[in-house]
Symmetry: C2
Subunit: 535 residues, 2 copies
Amino acid sequence: MRRHLLLAATAALIASPAIAQDGTTARIIDEGLNHSQVMVTAQGLTDVIGPRLTNSPAMRKAEGWTQDRFREWGLKNIHKEGFPFGRGWSIERSSVRMVTPRAIQLTAIPIAWTPATTGALTAPVIVAPIGKIRDFDKWRGQLRGKVVMLTAPGTGDEPDEAPFRRLSGEDLGKLDQYQLPHNDPEATDRRLKRLDFQQKLDAFLKAEGAVAFATISYRDGKLLHGEGYMFGVGETPSMPGVQIAAEDYRRLARLAKIGPAPTLEIVSDVRFDDSDVNAYNVFAEIPGTDPKAGYVMAGAHLDSWVAGDGAADNAAGSAMVMEAARILAATGVRPKRTIRFALWAGEEQGILGSMAYVEKHLATRGAGTALGNGQGMQRYYGFANRWPVTPLPGYRDLTAYFNIDNGSGKLRGLYAENNPAAVPLLRDWLSPFATMGAGTVVVRPTGGTDHVFMQSVGVPGFQFIQDPLDYGSRIHHSSADTFDHLKGDDMRQGATVLAGVLLAAADSDKVLPRPPLPTKPAVTDPFAYSDGDDD
Amino acid sequence: MRRHLLLAATAALIASPAIAQDGTTARIIDEGLNHSQVMVTAQGLTDVIGPRLTNSPAMRKAEGWTQDRFREWGLKNIHKEGFPFGRGWSIERSSVRMVTPRAIQLTAIPIAWTPATTGALTAPVIVAPIGKIRDFDKWRGQLRGKVVMLTAPGTGDEPDEAPFRRLSGEDLGKLDQYQLPHNDPEATDRRLKRLDFQQKLDAFLKAEGAVAFATISYRDGKLLHGEGYMFGVGETPSMPGVQIAAEDYRRLARLAKIGPAPTLEIVSDVRFDDSDVNAYNVFAEIPGTDPKAGYVMAGAHLDSWVAGDGAADNAAGSAMVMEAARILAATGVRPKRTIRFALWAGEEQGILGSMAYVEKHLATRGAGTALGNGQGMQRYYGFANRWPVTPLPGYRDLTAYFNIDNGSGKLRGLYAENNPAAVPLLRDWLSPFATMGAGTVVVRPTGGTDHVFMQSVGVPGFQFIQDPLDYGSRIHHSSADTFDHLKGDDMRQGATVLAGVLLAAADSDKVLPRPPLPTKPAVTDPFAYSDGDDD
């Protein structure tokens, strides 16, 4: 810590405003590429702390550990902000075996937020694919005492594309397409119905006397994921649930079809933690010299699922954001605008941490806030669609937000998120890093992570383009999401580029043009057909 | 059963020698493609019986079940032939957890033929890569009470080729290359030294007081394999051994490097079966009409490793060989030569079943037989290199052998195994199936399975070219080698083509030209350099 402060002080002495741009970029590159700590940070989050399910004991450790690192590196205004979430949950031990007709140790994982078994639970399976409420009647009276296999088994995949890849110039070109918006007002209703269905299914299984449920892993090759979305206190599932590797699940289903139902022995030693129902976002800053100039922000979600160590998703992004903070602190920059670093919680359950930030600091929607609406995913969809948007006093202060959440692949540029007017300035900020492969700006929007609610209220939030590597093919949310699949060279580049872009945005004379404040629902395409009722 | 016999009888009535060729081929195709049982057979071997480690209880079941099927289909001379092998072994239950510094249920499998733990074994790891005898000194005195991690951890792979593929015409063209033989008389010595090393390593670990050993899986993405090669009675390893998924193994190694050694809790409930030290090859026949014409044979190994269900390796080949037998029996053919069907044991431990067949029926080597030489792999290498070859009375009777052992991909043709003189006749036999994609004959040799010892004594043994699918990338020997990754359409085609080729070979007026009887060691390239001492 002392060394970094000293470096920062030295840097402050030699940096004059006139030569800041060039000299600072060179120092950022030197600090980021020759003195990188990004993989040490990533290892702390993954190998040492492990998977960081929101509100789990490991996530609590990560909340503290990340603040300690920011403190060590000399960041300012380090703090966390809470928002209501639900229960913590973690796996202590688990085992799923087929015990008849023959003994096989299966590959399986408890589904997040399902309750523990009491010791070993032994029961026959029944293959009862249930995807809609109308399926309930088909299985009524057949589930008592059974492990209910809820998914249709399908068959083996034929992966005919390389799992690991980088973006060519041609690939990048294809991303540069404005996407015509299609507004579907029923989408929210349908999604809310899906969530409602999960709760009705749980109640149905309980009423029918099922003893556990099982789902199939959605990736072949013995990978597991184990995501679960019912995490509110008092809202967790009634019975143990396991996700079983595709190969093992299909074997169970085939055996059940040709002979007596196989018997499973399930041990799920999992633990709830209700000591604090709040989840916490973590923040740190490099203060700006002009208190009226607002702030820029970089963020990544710190939370993860539990099948792996949440390495590519998203210790990688968290470590790059933290490393950008370290680089800028070590370089002793004094930007015009404050640079804020955010590590979000609850992203995996519905982008909840950044939504809480938006609601607290940027804008509210509808008559009130979405935070009291019960389950996270329902809050998500409620927030996404409730009009009108009411800006808060801090709405204009945030002039640019940059998000990293696409694995450990190096940064190739930025998505302008369907805001063509933002392209020239983004391209300018990236220009010093074009020769590192990060110079591309494409107009295409992206979704599903922590910039979306900022975008949805008209705040300029962007996501970086990253080389995909094997993120989509096998790592994302999977049991193989471990430190050894992170690419150190890519992450050094990523943290360095992020530091440079943040500083450029913080010092920029121009601010990014914003889309209009969304104050009314968009018009729905009158010729669109609904894709039908989901239940 | 009755229906097939009836069909056979009907077929015999209508088939005259003059029109046999065309009519029979059409009936083989109809039976093989429209009335296939190949996937039912494959499911019996995989889902129902499961992995068939030689001499395990499941392999014993498979020995009986396959003979029952041959009987049901009307095959003749159904029997098994024993040869000395070693112990059976199977997994009842297993679990490997990291218990400190945090709790993780690891993905791991007991290594074949390692002994059980007594309940749960809890001990710290030590990363001690040991690959040569000279490494022993480095670790002496440090292993007591430890789980010794014997492999260097390496880092994550970057798979940049599609896992699942089929052969294009260009791919097939590349296979058609004569391979210049390179004879390396020291190769056997080096390999025997490797085996000797395994025994010395086991003794070293025992003497040092290690409590278990662990190796890394050689495929990333949480796949397991668990092969083991010390299976002789009295020769199995001293202590429990587990193979740990690459991601989990590397995490252990990284944690051991930055802090206190992680502690593992290992439960390995495995069972030896010493009730019969003999392994058994299974045979069935369609008798030939000319007792002096000899026989042709198709074979596949019935045994497997245990991480999956031994589906692509090699229930697929076994089921195709069995289905070819069923097709030919159902078609009621009466070939000139006997057609023999062989299901080999002990292939995975050194091609031992087909070696035993060669020694009993075709040719011996050196002063005596190799069968008494202790461990299987040592027998393998002893047999492979001992001169001179002495033909047995049955040496000339076997006029062609066809092997299937490359997964469930459809047959694309035959490898002529460096015997260019055999190409025209093989091509002729395949010609009716060219439009099914199986018409290619390439000269290239292949190794590593049950035709090699026939080839090595000058008997014409060939392997089929097959579409690779995902056999090499993720299925071969892995925990994902299950029924759902078998391709039913491919296997129907394969069994049909095999039946047709067998019948053509059995009825052929010409016999395949043989390579010269190998009666002396080949000359070694005098300019070759040894690649050094292996210990």
